[in-house]
């Protein structure tokens, strides 16, 4: 059992940070990596801020997972339209989509709502190479957990539509998981997208 100082796997410089984060960002060379048994360098995407976005800017990490969903059977009490199936091509019971899961610690309702919103309405954003001077929220969710949470998001979308879900038979295949930092602005009402 030991505690070690984290160093960048690419340039060897120690990583310094004002907050704890499971994703380590090297300010010298821009490399991001995680440690989970071994060292894994992450391919990360950073969203650009809308030019008119006010101050109090912050980056929020998300796991974005390209996935295939097949809905075999769904039964609800009280009816309601099928949210996921309406999203598929007409007549199809399956489709491909990006499932978004917030990767930072946040209040449960907000977590659920952001996951649903971004999965059903993919956020349009431009990318950039670095974070500039904008702070990041720490990532607390591991990649393997995110893949399981993708499953949770699929069921949540079906459960949250009008009617009370009673049965759902489906399959979900997650093809990849990428960490995306999206631009947000802190307001009195909480975090608001700023892409």
């Amino acid at each position: 059992m030991q505690v070690i100082q984290v160093k960048c796997p690419k340039c060897g410089n120690p990583i310094y940070s004002k907050q704890k984060d499971t994703v380590f960002y090297c300010t010298t060379c821009g490399t991001m990596h995680i440690r989970n048994g071994g060292v894994q360098v992450l391919d990360v995407e950073i969203g650009d801020f809308n030019k008119n976005a006010p101050q109090d800017r912050v980056y929020v990490p998300f796991w974005r997972m390209y996935s295939t969903v097949v809905i075999n059977n769904v039964r609800s009490e009280g009816g309601g339209f099928q949210k996921l199936t309406s999203w598929f091509r007409e007549g199809d019971n399956s489709g491909n989509l990006f499932i978004w899961v917030p990767a930072s610690e946040m209040e449960i309702e907000r977590f659920k709502n952001m996951a649903m919103d971004f999965t059903l309405n993919p956020p349009p954003y431009n990318t950039r190479m670095d974070f500039g001077t904008v702070p990041r929220l720490p990532t607390v969710m591991r990649q393997e957990e995110a893949k399981e949470m993708a499953d949770f998001v699929v069921v949540t979308i079906e459960a949250e539509k009008p009617g009370v879900l009673q049965y759902l038979d489906y399959t979900l295949t997650v093809h990849d998981a990428k960490l995306i930092y999206l631009p947000f602005v802190s307001t009195q009402q909480g975090l608001v997208p700023a892409f």
């Binding site: 120690p14 009490e77 949770f152």
Partner: protein, 336 residues
């Protein structure tokens, strides 16, 4: 949250704290990002013993006075042994995320007829559950879970008092943590009839926590008893104590009266309904025999997680079912 552990930053030696189960921490002095590498993924933490032998004895004596224990226990009880020992526990926090769907049935009556209404339910579960379980054979200490998580801790052993060897595996502990979180989630969902369930369980990394416990052995009228005291908080965790004779005899009287009454009722209604009568008579007889067997060996009060428990009020109603399965013996209720 979880247990906090004190350690020194490898870069600047500053004293910092890391929360159990978390693998990253940043040093608030030099800003270095630090990573905790456990042995085979297990972090070992020990709590510092905070109480003295005197505190353990005083705490035990005040426990002797509480509840329906023998009224002269405080005066007659004699501590024969009092020593501290470290007990190992597996400890983790488990996050649960998912949906439990199904329905609940409610029966209504409008005076003429009754009908059953089926109310569909979909419940979201998204929360953390703490888990701990003893990692050795606790013998007859009456301890299975860790009750307290606040106190001075370190990643290394304090090594001033003897330690119980851990005998159970990390994999079993993980499996139990998952089962326990799943059971808690189902219970929190309150869906009596489940038709669909999709629940994900994420245990954090597992810790082995060494916790100081004081073992206090004492005698009361030639009988040996034992209780344990939490070495961090100083409160009694578990124990066995002699019951109060007055309270015992009152309970016996109540038990036999109900038994007798049911028996008598059985004979009276015998003419009108044979089945009910035999049922009443048998139940009455069982209760009478049960209360007799229950107290023949002397009663005992227990507190804590014992597999065979001493006297608790709820036990009276269990006597009948245990009797029919032949599990109530003569003296084993009272002996340690």
């Amino acid at each position: 949250m979880g247990i906090e552990v004190g350690l020194n930053c490898p870069a600047c030696s500053g004293a910092i704290k890391v929360v159990e189960g978390e693998t990253t921490v940043n040093c608030q002095y030099c800003g270095s990002m630090l990573f905790v590498e456990g042995d085979a993924g297990v972090t070992t933490i020990s709590f510092k013993n905070m109480i003295t032998r005197e505190t353990a004895v005083i705490s035990s004596a005040s426990w002797w006075k509480k509840g329906f224990k023998a009224r002269d226990l405080k005066r007659v009880g004699q501590v024969t042994e009092c020593y501290p020992i470290y007990i190992p526990f597996w400890s983790t926090t488990t996050r649960v995320a998912g949906w439990i769907c199904g329905y609940e049935e409610r029966t209504h009556s409008d005076g003429k007829r009754t009908y059953t209404e089926r109310i569909p339910k979909e419940e979201l579960i998204l929360r953390d559950y703490r888990f701990s379980e003893i990692a050795c054979d606790p013998g007859d200490l009456g301890i299975r879970k860790m009750r307290n998580i606040d106190g001075e801790t370190a990643l290394t052993d304090f090594q001033t008092i003897p330690t119980f060897e851990s005998t159970t595996s990390k994999d079993d502990a993980f499996a139990h943590a998952k089962e326990s979180a799943m059971a808690n989630a189902r219970s929190d969902a309150h869906v009596p009839h489940i038709t669909f369930e999709n629940v994900h369980v994420f245990p954090e990394s597992m810790s082995m926590v060494y916790y100081p416990i004081w073992v206090v052995r004492y005698t009361y009228r030639d009988r040996m008893y034992l209780n344990t005291v939490d070495g961090v908080t100083g409160s009694v965790l578990s124990g066995r104590a002699p019951g109060d004779p007055l309270f015992q005899s009152l309970a016996v009287t109540a038990g036999t009266s109900i038994g007798g009454l049911l028996g008598a009722t059985g004979i009276i209604v015998a003419s009108s309904s044979g089945e009910v009568a035999i049922g009443c008579f048998v139940v009455g007889l069982i209760i009478m025999v049960g209360t007799y067997l229950f107290f023949r060996g002397g009663s005992e009060i227990t507190e804590g997680d014992f597999s065979d428990r001493g006297f608790k009020l709820g036990d009276l109603k269990n006597v009948a079912s245990q009797l029919t399965q032949g599990r109530v013996g003569g003296n084993n209720w009272g002996d340690i």
